[in-house]
Symmetry: C2
Subunit: 629 residues, 2 copies
């Protein structure tokens, strides 16, 4: 381990049960840095164009970065990627926890998985060994059972496991990848691809101590972070409540998606806030690897409905998806739905949003009780919610349809149901209301993974009026962003913010410790961190170019899979007026969005269909993308 990376990438062929090691040269590590860049690089180089997501040759990738495993808050994440069974495009999702660092302790920067095992297996990486172990006995079992079984049968409680749940086995198109029961590569259905490969889990035990180039600076950054943390209200609030902190402010801002985005305020939201969770059902807290924030919480309920605290606490997105989006404000029900998803390995956003979609279809009379196996799917019906979550996980009855995601379900239903799906490129929107922050609308439209707030995310924080945050000025943004604006000047700012946010996914850094809104690690601190782990005298120019590289490679992948500008838009819902709250009556102007998308392309160096130009590929030093090799 030198320069922030082990230098080894593990390649596994599940069909042949073989493995090999690849050693990219140093300049490739510097050019790609990690996570999303490696993912896009290997998918473009190795995946067959237009391959079916469930084809054994669809590659499944796990990657860390050159900072993963450095003992500072936030440097604990890893990227999972593949071709998405949900969108048909670039699938990528990051997760925290412990598995990413553990992979590096075991001596690997990433894993490339190809082929399909003849029968269920799991991989066990330890002591330079790569074991293909039977997972017959794990198949169909909950994530918790599998985690403990793997540890038990290998006699090592320190083993870290990424796995799918039964939902992944059953190819639920939004099945996720789970580690430690509370950390998820949640979006784009990567778990289903893992399931299609008969790969239930990758267990890792690493014993190497990572040596970084400048340990002293890393220690200094960790100390600096901890000091700053003590007096940072934003971060202390985040420690206190985690992402559940968002419910109350979004409700009062009028940005809390409700009843399948028909409304953006929810009566009773005060019953499901982070504050209430803390006071009522929270039983403990936990953390990701080496992070002093400890934003992760656990809730436990021992009543008629029981909720197992080992499955964590619903995050903001989950509270939103099973709560207001479905018209529900019962914490017990939401917590149970969360537990079920985590137990079965399903993305809570897509699960909740697909159910919210069918609820709207039901209320509008497009589907009836019979279609819904006898359920009354009115908004607010908690029993139906929980029943549908179970049905989906088991692909039972209507669950089999809903397991395909809202867009595929709508097409089956017909009768214009598609107009009630709130998705982009087939992926359901996260719990962010773009009509109150238009930049988010652009972000959803052009995200390579469909509606995904972490791809071009910029929060309402950046969109408030007044003085711009000091922390975004190093991006050359000297004026504040106005929420309901999609002018050329706003698009410019969003592009630079996209570069910055993408950098977190390239470095597999947690956004919560680094994003400007928290004013913890500034961009120049990130520069210091990368320099300290690698020994390279990097600059923010270089890092943001790497981020831009990842955006353009992800785009090039989607172009190859058949996406074009027609896919870069929003669902009809966002062109309709919001039904309640401060933004009541507000909608995204469709023409303005179209112009913004075209301008976004131009700024990115893409043509009018969003195809990266030869010049841009050359500029980003990825000329090979244009030629396919």
């Amino acid at each position: 381990m030198v320069n922030g990376y082990t230098g080894k990438i593990l390649r596994v062929d599940l069909s042949k049960k073989t493995s090999s090691i690849e050693k990219p040269e140093e300049k490739l590590y510097r050019k790609y840095l990690g996570g999303r860049n490696w993912a896009a690089h290997y998918l473009l180089k190795e995946n067959k164009p237009k391959i079916d997501a469930f084809d054994p040759d669809n590659h499944l990738l796990f990657f860390t970065s050159v900072v993963t495993g450095a003992p500072v808050s936030g440097a604990c994440r890893y990227t999972a990627a593949t071709k998405s069974p949900l969108t048909g495009g670039f699938a990528e999702s990051e997760a925290g926890g412990f598995w990413g660092p553990e992979l590096k302790f075991a001596g690997y920067d990433g894993i490339i998985i190809q082929g399909r095992a003849a029968e269920p297996v799991y991989l066990f990486l330890h002591d330079d060994q790569i074991e293909f172990k039977s997972a017959e006995h794990l198949w169909g079992r909950t994530t918790k059972e599998v985690l403990s079984t793997i540890r038990k049968e290998n006699k090592d409680e320190k083993i870290r496991v990424v796995q799918i749940g039964p939902a992944g086995e059953k190819l639920i198109r939004y099945a996720n990848v789970v580690n430690e029961l509370t950390h998820f590569n949640g979006r784009t259905g990567i778990g289903a691809v893992m399931g299609s490969k008969n790969l239930r889990a990758i267990a890792v035990r690493g014993k190497a101590k990572l040596q970084f180039s400048d340990q002293e600076t890393i220690t200094g950054l960790a100390r600096y972070f901890n000091e700053k943390f003590k007096s940072n209200d934003g971060m202390l609030f985040h420690r206190d409540l985690g992402t559940t902190k968002a419910v109350a402010p979004l409700q009062s801002l009028g940005l809390l998606p409700t009843r399948n985005f028909q409304f953006s305020t929810c009566d009773g939201a005060e019953k499901i806030t982070g504050e209430v969770i803390k006071e009522t059902i929270r039983v403990r807290e936990h953390s990701c690897w080496a992070c002093s924030v400890r934003c992760k919480k656990n809730v436990g309920i021992d009543g008629e409905i029981k909720v197992d605290p080992d499955y964590g606490c619903p995050e903001y997105e989950t509270l939103g998806a099973f709560g207001p989006l479905c018209g529900i404000t019962d914490l017990t029900v939401i917590s149970k739905a969360n537990e079920l998803c985590n137990k079965y390995g399903m993305d809570t956003i897509s699960t909740g949003a697909t159910i919210a979609f069918i609820m709207e279809c039901y209320e509008r009379g497009l589907v009836d009780k019979e279609f819904l196996d006898g359920h009354d799917a009115s908004f607010g019906n908690s029993d139906t919610l929980l029943a549908l979550v179970e049905s989906i996980a088991e692909r039972k009855g209507v669950g089999d349809l809903l397991a395909e995601g809202s867009l595929r379900a709508a097409r089956k239903i017909g009768k214009g149901a598609a107009k009630y799906t709130v998705q982009v490129k087939g992926q359901e929107a996260p719990l962010h209301e773009p009509r109150g922050k238009w930049g988010q609308g652009l972000s959803f439209s052009i995200s390579p993974t469909g509606a995904d707030h972490l791809v071009v995310a910029h929060d309402q924080v950046f969109e408030q009026e007044g003085e711009p945050l000091e922390e975004i000025k190093p991006l050359g943004i000297y004026e504040t962003l106005v929420s309901t604006d999609l002018s050329p000047s706003k698009v410019r700012k969003l592009v630079y913010l996209q570069f910055a946010w993408s950098l977190y996914n390239v470095l597999d850094m947690c956004i919560f410790v680094g994003v400007p809104e928290n004013t913890m690690f500034t961009f120049n601190d990130l520069v210091k961190l990368v320099s300290a782990t690698t020994g390279w005298n990097v600059s923010l120019f270089e890092l943001l170019k790497a981020a831009e590289r990842s955006i353009t490679m992800a785009r090039a992948f989607n172009v190859r899979e058949g996406f074009s500008s027609k896919d870069d838009t929003l669902p009809p819902r966002f062109f309709e007026p919001v039904g309640s709250g401060p933004f009541k009556g507000q909608k995204i102007p469709e023409d303005l969005l179209k112009q913004a998308v075209q301008l976004y392309y131009s700024i990115l160096g893409w043509d009018t269909q969003g195809v990266p130009t030869a010049a841009k590929l050359i500029e980003l030093d990825i000329e090979w993308v244009g030629t396919g090799k």
Copy 2:
């Protein structure tokens, strides 16, 4: 003085003899930073399109940056700019010395000069006063006389003066601007514009002490520089010989332009090296403001030909232009030609190159002795060289024609003489042989000021094979540059290097202390310096975007003045084979250059004619350029 700038820009109307103060807001200072950016900004905003360079309304600008006057080596420069009487396009030239810091001590970041004085004047800025003083008694006098007269008549030996010489008064199209007799805004004929305004000089006396945001870091950087300096062979060599160091290596590399670029090695070059100068005619050394390098030298000769040491020492470019380019290897003659140019205020490169051009015309029989007022203009004729320098400065006989520059002279001569001019956009090439470093060829082609090695310069240093310099890696350049290459991948590297080099002109920093080849101030040190002077938490991303902004604004200016892609090429000479040395037979492939220029445009976000696209203007936050206001 806060944040690295005084906050005041002085506007002077010479026609009305009035002045006023403008106070741009902070975010404009952060966006433009200084020098070239302010120049391009004001020329675009205020100059009438297609105005004649000698029209009173052509603005003449002097600007410093947010680091000028910080007591670290290199932060002593300023930019002069206007519309060029030589190229008809963007005129810009930086100079060191003492005047830039002095202007800030006097309370101004820059001066905008418009109009024309009814009779010769000079400006005297001191103690918050702006005096318009008669220059009738200075008109026609040498730069040395004027400098001492101004100091004497204002009873202050500490006054710093920028001035033109008699050449500027006579509108020699490559007249320069001089400060302290040895520092020059040399190129693009800015001195002629100053002359056309009847403005002989701007004398400045400033008494304010600059307060920067973080004095401690600035002191630390100065100390760090001095420490590093002691063990840096490259910089110690530079201190020892200044730019004259270049003669010997360029001769042995085969990159020493000889006889109007017909050859690239010169017999007898060993007689005019920096080493020989040091041993024979050097009498003392001097320095720019607050610089520990002291690269400036003085030569004195007291023989039949006398050379006054107060006019400095010929720099490399001057040695080359009056030496090998004219077939001359006599140090006394070259030193005399240098003294004459500095005394009269003429650019030594254009003067030498125009004479070299006429020498080739003479040898080829396009002009004869009669045309040349009886001179034998064979290459190597020292008497003719010195006589022609005098004639040009006085616009006497053939000098009147040569004072127009080589291209205008060639057009007058006719007979295909233009093919022997070695110029781009009318500005004569500096002493760098692009056929041995093709990147320099691209650089000459697309420079907004015509053939100018400091605009997109990247030296042969970057073009050697082997491991790339550590210092250019933060630009995302991980592979070395090969000299005789203009592949897409090379163009990419050149673009990023152009951003970096342009940053020096935006910050008015001396390239010799900062450029990668000297490994003194790295790019991240520049980031620290700007942060320390301003208190802004800047990044290299932000700084390089500012640099890119300056490139695109300069381009937009030229587009408005009528330039298009047809002007972005090289003179015929560079498409012909080199006549001697290691690169004998080598030429720039014209097709490859065309492709490289087009790719350069695309990467810069310009269309096929080199017109910046709307999207690029938006991205660089200079949308106003497209609309004219």
